[in-house]
Symmetry: C2
Subunit: 528 residues, 2 copies
């Protein structure tokens, strides 16, 4: 299901003052030199790396002793998920180099990726995201500094060709890892359960590797600042790295580049200079207020609150403008218009209304901090009206669940957002989430982004123990499946699911997946 | 037939004084900006470019108006064979670039090359010589300066991928062509025949494009200084560009890096610093004296003659050391030991002896310039002895031709080198060359290098008119086949011949093919 948004009528309004504030907060990246920790090879070359028994190890010091001919390959394991720049120290042996060296390099976040063939990729997003390079080296010895940034743990070096007279020697491979933050700044999770400790470590690594010039959604692919992802990353960041400048920078970047009637773009580009994408996502724009409130409550930064409050309010106004005469959001589910979750066939009409209600509640809290009493009255009135219309239009009394769209679809996402919108009182919300678990609607959650809201809904419904078990079940299963960082997409019912038509292009370090560290540290860890 | 030489015992002796002289003569390259003169496309995309009727043209100004999506391609024609560095001025259109641009570039000396698939190359020399690049461009607009040098007339740009949201625009493509010499320094050939004019122009272009830091053998592939090629290039250069410094530089480079008992390497590498290849070719080493004599007779440069004379003489001594008790060169025809010509199954034993005799004659001339009377006597004696043994061992009285090897093989190459060695008096040589033409031995000539010696043999046998016709027939046929520069290999009986197992890797601008300009200007053009 290709899903992109292209707006024909797209007029950007830049607020230079906001952009200047954002620019001044641009982080200096911390660099760390990383060396491979082992070499890997297949015991049986005919089988893949996916079969763990087939993966054999060697000391990394053996690399420089290898004499590599045509079609030889080596696989380096850098021990953990890494983001950065690779330098190869190459030389030749045998006679003088009498032809260019021709290399093919691949970078993989998971070892299983090395079993796939990029030439066979036929997904609907660009093949250019596959991390591969064909490189000629005309003169050896050479210090080959690859100019592009890669996200990977495994690096495969394939010798396409040398010549009959010389062979390749790889003296050394070094990674300059980059991030705006350091793991040294985060205390280990103060909980005894080894699985939870591991989940927390993988989560903070995920967040760290996504914290670059901005909060990136994934360092392998996309590499942009998405508004929905920012909100979750910032929450995890406040519990861990506490890099408030980055959260502030990202909020100002969004607010500094609105379009048309003041809408926030769903994502931003940083290069060659900051520009908004011509993508509007109804839910992402509305959630800006939630992200702003989180930031303010962490920092008590009055200036930022005052600067950005009007932008947050404008998103709610725009959201309200979409309402029909019946006080519901029209059904746009055949468009890429309200993200909610990846997942084939999800109808987002009811969730859209729920997210509008949710954003109004956050809007009221912002208005209270601002002392904006008129706005408080107006929003409180709207909140009640919309809760009423949500029940009237989407509650199915017989099934005791919310439905969505003309097809009256029942999905996990709809129930969860209605709970987070607090359409019902707390006890009834609790009943609804338990009922959802029991019924297990066929339209399931597929992204950790949606799972985040599920965990949130459980905790807000006083189901903390169940929330913890669900985290262990979902993120713990990813750990079991070998995650060094958490993945963009993880459907325990279909581990090979991809929203893009091929798992090859999935991102295996994706910011919206890092929130277990937020939940664990905020709601479970004993306060020091 | 893979043919390389790897010497186990290879001890290089550098003469730093000679290398310093060579270094000081390093040319400053002349750069010329070149733009594409037309765009090409196939009328029927299912058919190739090899079918001339299928090739359609567009104005180059149309390039920047094209909106290029995934799998689109453009072919630029730079109007003539070029050597240099390409810069692409790239931009995007549509929405903001949201994925890297992924390009595949190919450079072709002949349009037909674009019909072949480099992935299918399976020759025995390195695939790395195929002029292709896979390039990711993370940020558009971009000025993409390709760091490698290419030799080509046609450049194909393939869009492997953009994204659903943006397309590629190529605003401009520029070539910075490089050479040590300029066509402006060469007078057009003063002969009326348009075909001869064209042959001369293609020859001088070939030479120009091979004159870089040194005389390269071919700017697409190999790119090294080969001794046998140098000798022919220098001859053509004396009649055209008259860049004496380059000839001198190359002679000093060879003499500055001998190995073992003072042997000259068959070729040299310039990067990362000058080094000889561990390849000894019996004929190439012997022909150094001929190249030195040519240089001296052009320049009367006494210092160079004195410096390099001992090196030339040492090659003859080494050659003589190989002689058997029977005063012949042993049969090494199963090795890459005496080049003579490419061509499957050529036995080079008799030609090796002929080349030794030829080099002795040049040695005598050098010795006369040096006033080295003892050497003159010695060499004249040897010359006579060897001519006698050549006839005794290799002349087949019945067939009235020279044979070679145990198999008593009759080849064009053997007859030609025996003629150039002047084993027989002039009239008998003339009879031999005419007889060879008549018999047309099955072991034919395949390289323009060998054809050069054939033309030389005709002219030295007072068959100037026939030599001219043969030039028109051989090099003229290449012109007819679309040559902008003369090719490394051209067998009129098998136009798809390659010594490397695939025509894809053949070089179509090869220095040893440029000598028609030498013959035409030295022996045919009316003196101004």
């Amino acid at each position: 299901m290709p899903a992109v948004c292209i707006l024909d009528d797209f007029e950007v309004h830049k607020n230079e003052e906001f952009l200047k504030i954002a620019e001044e907060l641009k982080p200096e990246l911390i660099t760390t030199q990383v060396k491979p920790v082992r070499l890997l090879y297949k015991e049986n070359p005919g089988e893949g790396f996916s079969d763990k028994k087939n993966v054999k190890e060697e000391e990394p010091s053996l690399l420089s002793g290898k004499v590599l001919k045509k079609d030889d390959r080596v696989v380096l394991d850098f021990g953990d998920h890494q983001v950065g720049y690779v330098t190869l120290d190459l030389a030749s042996t045998g006679s003088h180099q009498d032809a260019p060296l021709y290399l093919y390099l691949r970078f993989a976040e998971r070892i299983e990726e090395l079993d796939s063939d990029p030439a066979e990729y036929n997904g609907w997003i660009s093949k250019s995201w596959l991390q591969q390079e064909h490189i000629h080296v005309d003169v050896l010895p050479a210090r080959l500094e690859l100019p592009r940034r890669y996200a990977f743990r495994y690096m495969e070096i394939n010798v396409i060709d040398v010549s009959m007279k010389f062979s390749l020697v790889i003296n050394d491979v070094t990674l300059k890892a980059v991030s705006a933050v350091s793991q040294d700044d985060v205390e280990p999770l103060a909980m005894d359960d080894p699985l939870l400790q591991r989940i927390d470590r993988v989560a903070t690594r995920t967040l760290q590797n996504c914290m670059q010039d901005v909060f990136e959604d994934g360092p392998k692919r996309d590499r942009r600042l998405w508004l929905g992802d920012l909100r979750l990353q910032a929450r995890a960041n406040y519990q861990t790295f506490k890099n408030y400048d980055m959260a502030k920078r990202c909020l100002y970047l969004f607010a500094g580049m609105t379009f048309n009637e003041g809408k926030l773009a769903a994502c931003l580009f940083l290069d060659p200079e900051p520009e908004p994408d011509d993508t509007y996502l109804f839910d992402y724009a509305l959630l800006f207020g939630s992200a702003l409130l989180d930031y303010y409550e962490e920092t008590k930064d009055e200036k930022t609150l005052k600067d950005l409050y009007p932008v947050a309010m404008r998103q709610i106004e725009i959201g309200l403008d979409y309402l029909t005469e019946d006080n519901i959001v029209p059904d746009h589910s055949d468009e890429f218009w309200c993200f909610v979750d990846w997942g084939d066939g999800l109808n987002s009409q009811a969730a859209s209304l729920a997210i509008l209600i949710y954003s109004i509640r956050y809007g009221i809290r912002l208005a209270k901090y601002m002392g904006d009493t008129d706005r408080i009255d107006l929003l409180q009135k709207k909140e009640e009206e919309l809760k009423k219309s949500a029940v009237e239009h989407f509650w199915d009394e017989e099934q005791q669940m919310f439905v969505s769209g003309e097809e009256r679809q029942i999905s996990w996402a709809t129930q969860i957002w209605m709970i987070l919108a607090r359409v019902f009182p707390k006890e009834k919300n609790r009943e609804l989430i338990l009922r959802t678990i029991e019924v297990n609607p066929r339209i399931r959650m597929v992204t950790p982004y949606m799972y985040h809201h599920y965990i949130d809904a459980l905790i807000r419904s006083d189901e903390k123990e169940r929330a913890l078990n669900e985290m262990k079940r979902y993120w713990g299963e990813m750990v079991h499946d070998g995650a060094d960082t958490f993945w963009e997409v993880y459907n325990p019912y279909n581990k090979y699911e991809s929203p893009y038509g091929s798992v090859m292009i999935n991102s295996y370090c994706h910011a919206w997946s890092c929130t277990p560290t937020y939940f664990l540290r905020k709601f479970y860890e004993e306060k020091k």
